[in-house]
Symmetry: C2
Subunit: 161 residues, 2 copies
């Protein structure tokens, strides 16, 4: 009990409230995704591939693909879990697996055209639902939310080993 610097009451209260908010948000995200044909986990995977292809590939005209281990790390899951999702996405025609020319152990996962379209459309739909919710907030509330998002992002990065 005394190994930590003993956080003060305010910090603990903030921790409690933030945890509570996140706990409920999990159910919110579930509902947001409930309608679409892409599950949350699969959308996350596709989104990650999309983001990575935007960074480097478009400049060079050809996507490299992302390695399975990298996907797993980015998603915060173990490699077998990533493999499972990738196989499902491959069966659905949304991604393609190719051998890495430089390292035959590695696998390069790439979005197909269908995958690209699917992630864009799913994102658009979910964003619209969320926008509907956020639209009912006051300007001040939206501003408070916007100010906190980078902080939440920073917190999330903390647990990324």
């Amino acid at each position: 009990m005394s190994e930590h610097p003993l956080p003060d009451a305010g910090l603990l209260a903030l921790s409690r409230d933030f945890r509570e908010a996140l706990r409920h948000s999990i159910y919110l995200v579930r509902r947001l995704d409930a309608d679409g044909e892409l599950s949350a986990a699969q959308l996350s995977t596709l989104k990650m591939l999309l983001d990575s292809s935007e960074g480097s590939a478009e400049a060079r005209g050809e996507a490299n693909g992302v390695r399975v281990g990298e996907i797993a790390r980015n998603l915060g899951v173990k490699v077998p879990s990533a493999t499972e999702q990738i196989i499902k996405l491959e069966r659905a025609g949304l991604v393609r697996r190719e051998a890495d020319p430089a390292d035959s152990r590695a696998v390069r996962v790439k979005l197909t055209a269908e995958g690209h379209a699917a992630v864009e459309s799913a994102n658009t739909r979910r964003n619209a639902v969320m926008a509907g919710i956020l639209g009912s907030l006051s300007d001040a509330e939206r501003q408070a939310l916007a100010a906190a998002i980078p902080v939440i992002g920073k917190i999330n990065e903390t647990l990324q080993p």
Copy 2:
């Protein structure tokens, strides 16, 4: 595409960023819970029972318990899912199920002393982990987070039918 009031670009961007933050936060919550003996779903259930017993029961000296349907609604899951969790918790000795004297169809779920202790301890431990993370933020960042928490709470309530 034109059935909604067509939210402006800022609102859509906020929606996107917030969704992204929540998506990652799910993994954060998972890790926060990874160590303890109580799963996130079970802790949520116990927490709900704890909260409800604090409100009314302590004043009257005796807890009423919470009905299964109410637990399900509060947790955002279907009734059978709540039943499942409750049965597990009962087997673990953390809750007790009793017939409602006024309505024999209904079941009243109550925390046992062990359940009370378990939820308190699990919460304390997770809060400490979270406090460790939040402690590394700047004052301004913590303030931004604190300001947004009630807003997130409000958003979560939106999807509570």
